[in-house]
């Protein structure tokens, strides 16, 4: 999640520093903050919901921590909240990746246009 958010941030920072379109820092990092916040928010919300609706509180919530010593790999509990968390995590990561590729593609086109404009102005100056 962190590298995706950083890549999304970098698109905004490039708009500010390379394209010089007047983008402010808040605008540059806002999409990354929203994506990261959504990711954390859903996970927290699911844990709260799971806690509220836990039918047998002592057994489920006070069970000793599943340390690496106690559980073999692959023996992790995949209860509905965990599965929901996993699914939502994948969805948000996929949305973040798609947004980054879309924004990056748009930026590449803008940079190409800027470079073409620079080249044309240079050739005009030479002629």
């Amino acid at each position: 999640m962190h590298p995706i958010c950083a890549a999304i941030q970098s698109v905004g920072i490039c708009k500010r520093d390379v394209e010089h379109d007047g983008t402010k820092l808040g605008q540059a990092i806002l999409p990354a903050i929203v994506l990261h916040g959504l990711f954390d928010f859903w996970l927290m919300l699911l844990s709260v919901i799971a806690f509220i609706h836990a039918p047998d509180l002592p057994d489920q919530t006070l069970a000793p921590v599943a340390t690496y010593d106690d559980k073999e790999a692959g023996e992790q509990d995949l209860d509905p909240p965990s599965l929901s968390s996993l699914a939502i995590s994948f969805v948000i990561v996929a949305v973040g990746l798609a947004y980054y590729f879309w924004a990056s593609q748009q930026q590449r086109q803008r940079l190409n246009a800027m470079m073409a404009a620079q080249d044309s102005s240079l050739s005009l100056a030479l002629t």
Binding site: H2, P3, A7, I29, F51, L57, V65, D69
Partner: protein, 608 residues
């Protein structure tokens, strides 16, 4: 309005304008000079006479060209100011020291050795002292409490020592600004210029209207406003227009950080007219800005920490780029000392972790695989993002430094800021719980109740009845405590790294795509370092949030000796939360704090 010429170069409030030449000597109206309310801009004042025009000019105490509270982010394009936010400004202080004195500061290995010695010595002394005083087995809680207090005392002692060092450097910088020596022990005051400077120096040191260097560099101090507005004749100069253009440009560049900083400054100045200065961070930033103004930029072409000049390794980076050397060995040979140190640090840390795992923990191979996988996923991302496609757009040297910045600085900054912001959220939740307890006191379990299920059932009932509160609390934690803090920490960790690859002149010579790719690779490298450190915290500890919670508990232990039992219950819960899951530390703090707040109520239903 009358203007008088001040012949002895002394301005209002004891401020001198030593940088002004005799031709620019100001005319000052002592009756009309008031401290400006935070407006540090130069505003034109209509002149009363035709020539020469008088301009309102803002100056600052001790002849600095910027205020001590100009803001760490006043100029969004100033990378060095961000560096002040890590390690209490130690990195920037070292750079200032090296630039001013030409000497190298105390090596980092010595500082680490002192820190480790303090960490080891304090508990040993406490255990010995407790065992001597109390015959028999020493009480564990007492030992922990006195150890924490010992750490606090050692922390303060080291802080005072650092204050003296920073004070000496500030005096040296003041000396350079004024261009004349500061004599500290002379008391004569005559009309002679030299003696005037002596008087001024004494005033500065005594704090009569001016700042004392030790004051601005204390561990924690309130610093008066340092803005002084004056009127003086400024002859027409093209540089004046350029300065105005720069100021106008900066106004247009104001971003969210500047606004946040200004908001904090207003909050601090609103009540007492003072700025809260901690560890001399703002003073160090002010000194650095002044040095940047005085000295040529070539003097600052140095790496942090190792203070290696760029000129020693930039040609090697250029050679690799020009040769299009695609081999890893070729890039590795061009690394700077700092990058080599980071790689050695990673290797030594891995070795220590491996030895620790094989010596003290079960299933060592599986744990080692976990550690290597954590590091490996960051390496994989960096390989895909940087090495595979953009190895010539941004050097490996920069990637290693940015990874190190993300690993060390971004995580540390995020932990501290998350601790502070989560305290606000926890406080609101605690108040909510307390109100609930006051309304329905018999629901809350007895604090002496050792059955943790009662606490959990209370929390569960409370959460069911106040689901909206918990949703808001989760949103606050997710969007503000975690997301905003971590993204800002990552951004500033990227922004604070000054590397030749991000030199503006170099960026103008390369294509736009290369510049954009270098920014993307750099930010991803920082985030990989941050994620790697965060994952290590989750493997070996309980993650960032619990680190903040643990710090909160430790602080409670130190600063609230009256509520020892409450703090002890928190500590006990902290220790127990390492053994049991779902009841988080926040719940423990909420319960124990609510119990403490209700302790003195007339009903006395809580016997904490």
């Amino acid at each position: 309005m009358s203007f008088s010429t001040n012949s002895n170069q002394q301005g209002p409030n004891g401020v001198f304008f030593a940088r002004l030449s005799q031709a620019e000597m100001m005319n000052v109206d002592d009756n009309n000079n008031n401290n400006n309310d935070g407006n540090d801009d130069d505003d034109a004042v209509p002149s009363l006479s035709s020539v020469p025009p008088l301009r309102q000019v803002t100056t600052y105490h001790d002849d600095f060209s910027t205020s001590i509270c100009t803001g760490l982010f006043a100029n969004p394009y100033d990378r060095s100011s961000c560096c002040i936010t890590v390690c209490c400004g130690t990195l920037l202080q070292d750079l200032n020291y090296h630039i001013v004195t030409g000497q190298r500061p105390v090596p980092w290995w010595k500082r680490l050795a002192v820190g480790i010695a303090v960490l080891a010595l304090v508990p040993t002394l406490v255990v010995v002292a407790v065992a001597t005083v109390t015959t028999g087995d020493p009480d564990r809680e007492t030992t922990v409490r006195y150890t924490l207090r010992g750490y606090l005392i050692a922390f303060l002692a080291l802080g005072i020592y650092g204050t003296h060092q920073r004070k000496a450097l500030r005096l040296r910088i003041l000396q350079d600004i004024m261009g004349q020596s500061i004599v500290m022990n002379t008391t004569t005051t005559t009309t002679d210029n030299n003696d005037i400077s002596t008087s001024r120096s004494q005033r500065r040191l005594d704090g009569c209207g001016c700042y004392r260097p030790s004051k601005v560099h204390r561990c924690c101090s309130c610093v008066e406003r340092d803005i002084v507005t004056s009127f003086r004749q400024i002859p027409y100069d093209t540089s004046t227009d350029e300065e105005e253009d720069q100021i106008r440009c900066r106004r247009q560049q104001i971003d969210i950080c500047t606004i946040l900083w200004q908001f904090l400054a207003i909050l601090c100045c609103g009540c007492c007219g003072c700025w809260w200065n901690c560890w001399g961070v703002c003073a160090t930033a002010q000194e650095h800005r002044e040095l940047r103004r005085i000295l040529p930029p070539e003097r600052f072409a140095l790496d942090y920490v190792t203070l290696q000049p760029y000129i020693e390794y930039v040609p090697l980076l250029e050679q690799v780029k020009n040769r299009q050397d695609a081999s890893l060995w070729g890039h590795t040979k061009a690394l700077s000392k700092l990058s080599q140190s980071i790689l050695w640090g990673i290797a030594i840390a891995l070795l220590v972790v491996t030895v620790n795992i094989f010596a003290h923990q079960s299933q060592p191979v599986a744990r080692l695989v976990l550690v290597v996988a954590t590091l490996g996923q960051s390496m994989l991302v960096l390989y895909l993002v940087h090495w595979r496609y953009h190895r010539f757009d941004l050097s490996l040297d920069a990637i290693i430094k940015l990874f190190g910045a993300g690993f060390c600085f971004a995580t540390g900054t995020a932990v501290v800021v998350e601790l502070l912001t989560s305290m606000i959220g926890n406080l609101v939740l605690i108040i909510t719980v307390v109100f609930e307890v006051v309304e329905d006191p018999f629901d809350i379990p007895d604090a002496n109740d050792t059955d943790p299920t009662d606490n959990l059932h209370f929390l569960q009932r409370f959460a069911r009845q106040h689901i909206f509160t918990f949703v808001i609390f989760s949103a606050f934690n997710a969007f503000v405590v975690a997301s905003l803090t971590e993204e800002m920490a990552k951004y500033f960790s990227f922004w604070m790294v000054e590397h030749p690859d991000y030199d503006l002149q170099r960026q103008r010579e390369q294509s736009l795509h290369t510049t954009a790719a270098s920014i993307t690779c750099g930010m991803v490298a920082v985030s990989c370092g941050f994620a790697c450190c965060e994952n290590f915290l989750y493997i070996f500890g309980e993650g960032l949030s619990l680190s903040g919670g643990a710090l909160f508990t430790i602080l409670s232990l130190i600063v609230r000796p009256v509520t020892t039992r409450c703090a002890n219950s928190q500590l006990a819960y902290l220790l127990s939360s390492r053994t049991y899951r779902a009841p988080s530390l926040v719940d423990a703090i909420v319960l124990s704090s609510a119990s403490y707040l209700c302790r003195d109520s007339k009903r006395g239903y809580l016997q904490t």
